[in-house]
Amino acid sequence: MKHLIDIRDLTQAEILELLDLADAIVADPAAYREVCRYKKLATLFFEPSTRTRLSFEAAMYELGGQVLGFSEAASSSAAKGESVADTIRVVSCYADIIAMRHPKEGAPLVGAMHAGVPIINAGDGGHNHPTQTLTDLMTIRREKGRLSDFTIGFCGDLKFGRTVHSLIAALSRCAGVRFVLVSPEELKLPSYIKKDILLEQGLPYEQTTDLHAVMPELDVLYMTRVQRERFFNEEDYLRLKDSYILTPEKLENAKAALSILHPLPRVNEIDAAIDDDPRACYFRQARNGKFVRMALILKLLELA
């Protein structure tokens, strides 16, 4: 049984295969319209995330399949005290594949240990979010035409930003990628990620608090939101939430071919005035998310 819990579960060849399949679906969606007929996806969202859930559901519907599930823990048996293992054992009886989001880190792994069907981690706390990483990789490859030889800046919350951690891990396998880490002191990339990935593999990186100074170097800018739900202390959140706001002025010294990504939702960290700039990729990125999830469902169900 194959699951996707962590982006590192996939080999580079498997990732490229998924991206190729996603591109093929974009090119000819009609060819995939009936592939998952009579198959059911369960979306078990123990933590609300409308965007990711809708993306999974749209992906399954576009493959001709059906969807069941819940969108918050309060409407699940977890509210009655059921364990993750039991929930997954039961839902495995009803669905062919499960996409699961949970506020606690490692919950999807617990699910995978007890599941009778493939489990997709749709986000576990501040830990992993592999389908977002696949979305990000697909977007970079479609925008740049390659997954190598570029400088990527990560900006905002690099401490709790799981999308950042997973994407750094995934890009560390690609040749010629240089990392620029832009964040306030309090939200710097955790040292274990820096040590285990960047230093261990001798990858080029730079750490700074000054986005303006590094902007001209960037081929890709990955913006993130400072997330209220990752803080135990409201005061810390309020103090740091506006640290980096991207405005048209801040893009003045950026490359013409820069690609701006954001996992969404944004609050105010990207000025709406940038939305019409051709360098803003984040809505195309959201669209890619659906296609790459379609590709993943097909692969895990062994239908492609």
């Binding site: 364990s83 993750v84 949970h102 506020p103 606690k104 880190e105 490692g106 919950a107 792994l109 617990v110 576990d124 706390g125 501040g126 830990h127 274990y192 285990d196």
Partner: protein, 139 residues
Amino acid sequence: MNIDSIQNGIVIDHIRAGGAMELYRLLGLGELDCPVAIIKNAPSRKLGKKDIIKIDAARDIPLDVLGFVDPDATINIIRGGVLVEKKHAGLPERIESVLRCRNPRCITSVEPGLPQIFTLANRETKTYRCIYCEARAER
């Protein structure tokens, strides 16, 4: 000071001085009903001072954690009053049901029935991580 030789059991030797009580706790030795002797600050040619634990019982003790706490400690297995095996603790690949994950965001913090499992992430730095949330193991 006289501590009788044991007949069947385990002697954990070359524990760094001051480390025996921590091992006593992590190995759950307080729950045993057999004789357990802790010798602190015994003279040692190699270490200057060392601690020793003697467990007078031929039963399974989860010694895996020993390598994590004190990889230089030695384990001596005694059968019929004779030393039958001597080994170094070494770093285990996996530590199960001994340490608890301290990450409040980990699934184990709300589901205490889950087995607590840590795996060796980096042999050089002796880093163990929780298999669920990847938080670093703390003693």
